[in-house]
């Protein structure tokens, strides 16, 4: 049985997801929550194989939750579930240290299949695409405004995040306390607008997809 924890602030969405996942027969939803704060506290104790996290929540975001939980127990795999566009969802998943993202669409993206693959230890993020995101963070020809506002320290942390390191590992590399890294990540998310912005479009497009011809 694959043990799954669900974080989504819409009760109707959670109910639908539980039905969908449990109909599979191999997946058991062991816990659920509508609050980022509560989920970050409770998930490590549930020790699920996979946590499915809505990216945007009234009291926080799934990215911070994913990083917080994985700092405590990196065997717990994260899947970001979002109604963002693909570009931003991809960026959110990388920032979260998640194994992938699934869009809130009924058809096309197969959540059940994604849960199975992630539970087996696969990453759904294409390494070539992740690499590309990293390259742009490092060598973006024209620095987007959001990146220009980052300190060198924050930029280094962003690169480590893009490489998939947990907060603890980043702390080790940078000789910082884990708590300090966590604070840096939160301020990064705030600066990049991931914390408050809704769907947005604008962010990932600016960061990753700027087109030099325009």
């Amino acid at each position: 049985m694959i043990r799954v924890f669900l974080l989504d602030d819409h009760e109707v969405v959670r109910r639908g997801l539980v039905d969908l996942l449990e109909a599979d027969g191999d997946i058991e939803v062991v816990g659920e929550s509508g609050s980022a704060q509560e989920a970050a506290r409770r998930i490590p104790a549930f020790r699920p194989d996979v946590m499915i996290l809505d990216a945007r929540l009234p009291d926080g975001n799934g990215i911070d939750v994913c990083r917080d939980v994985r700092a405590i127990d990196s065997t717990i795999k994260g899947l970001i579930l979002t109604s963002y566009e693909d570009d931003e969802a991809l960026f959110a998943a990388i920032m979260a240290g998640a194994a992938g993202y699934v869009l809130k669409q009924i058809r096309g993206t197969d959540l059940v299949d994604a849960v199975h693959r992630v539970a087996e230890g696969q990453s759904l993020l294409d390494p070539a695409v992740t690499q590309r995101v990293l390259e742009r963070i490092r060598h973006g020809v024209e620095q987007p405004r959001e990146l220009a506002g980052l300190t060198d320290q924050e930029r280094r942390i962003l690169e480590f995040i893009a490489e998939g390191l947990t907060n603890r590992e980043i702390a080790g590399r940078m000789f910082l306390a884990e708590k300090t890294v966590k604070n840096y990540v939160s301020s990064l998310l705030a600066k990049l607008g991931l914390e408050r912005r809704t769907q947005a479009a604008v962010l990932a497009t600016r960061l990753l997809g700027e087109h030099p011809h325009t």
């Binding site: 639908g16 570009d87 991809l90 669409q105 009924i106 058809r107 695409v129 479009a201 604008v202 087109h211």
Partner: protein, 204 residues
């Protein structure tokens, strides 16, 4: 928060979530229906809901993009082209994206130039010949893997009068050329139940 952000937030945080939940519930019901004669109808409603979600996502992008300054990604360029075409077409095309369009095409400048040229030409063809009441534009990117390169596919479908005997050869020759010199494909065929479907697909 300004008015635009509030509308976008509402669409994102409430409308999409409810549509998604409704779709999930229907899918759960459909799974228990087996071969019931109503099952295909339910499946069609699920498709409609998904379609609506995709269009709302494009709308949210459009709302927020309108407020954004600075360089644009491909998504924004396509949105602009499609918006501009509404006048000549007499209707606003439905626009759907699939895949990380901006990320995968970030460094593919000349493909993007071809794509925007093909889209402009296709929409102008529809406006001149099709007399369509509904136009749909789909842009799909897939990342490559060890088995081969990624792919960019664009479809422009309408419900107009169809190809018939109209002469679109010079324009379409150009579209075909832009696909084939990249090792891609170009097809133009009938849409169901009526109209035309253009598909332009190239490796990236």
């Amino acid at each position: 928060m300004n008015e635009r952000d509030r509308i976008a937030a509402d669409l994102h945080d409430h409308i999409i979530q409810r549509l998604f939940a409704a779709g999930l519930a229907l899918q759960g019901a459909a799974a228990r229906m087996g071969g019931h004669p109503v099952a295909p109808r339910v499946a069609a409603v699920i498709d409609d809901l998904d379609d609506t979600i995709a269009q709302i996502r494009s709308t949210i992008f459009a709302i927020q993009h309108a407020a954004a300054k600075g360089p644009q990604g491909l998504r924004a360029r396509v949105l602009e082209l499609v918006t501009e075409s509404a006048g000549p077409l007499g209707c606003t095309p439905a626009l759907r994206f699939s895949g990380p369009v901006d990320t995968l095409l970030a460094d593919a400048g000349d493909v993007v130039d071809d794509l925007t040229a093909v889209l402009r030409e296709s929409l102008s063809n529809v406006a001149r010949h099709a007399r369509a009441g509904r136009v749909e534009v789909d842009l799909i990117v897939e990342s490559g893997d060890s088995d081969g390169p990624g792919r960019l596919t664009m479809q422009v479908c309408d419900d107009g009068v169809g190809l018939g005997a109209s002469t679109r050869s010079s324009g379409t020759a150009n579209l075909r050329h832009r696909a084939e010199h990249r090792g891609g494909t170009f097809t133009l065929g009938p849409n169901t139940p009526s109209g035309t479907c253009l598909k332009w697909s190239v490796p990236i």
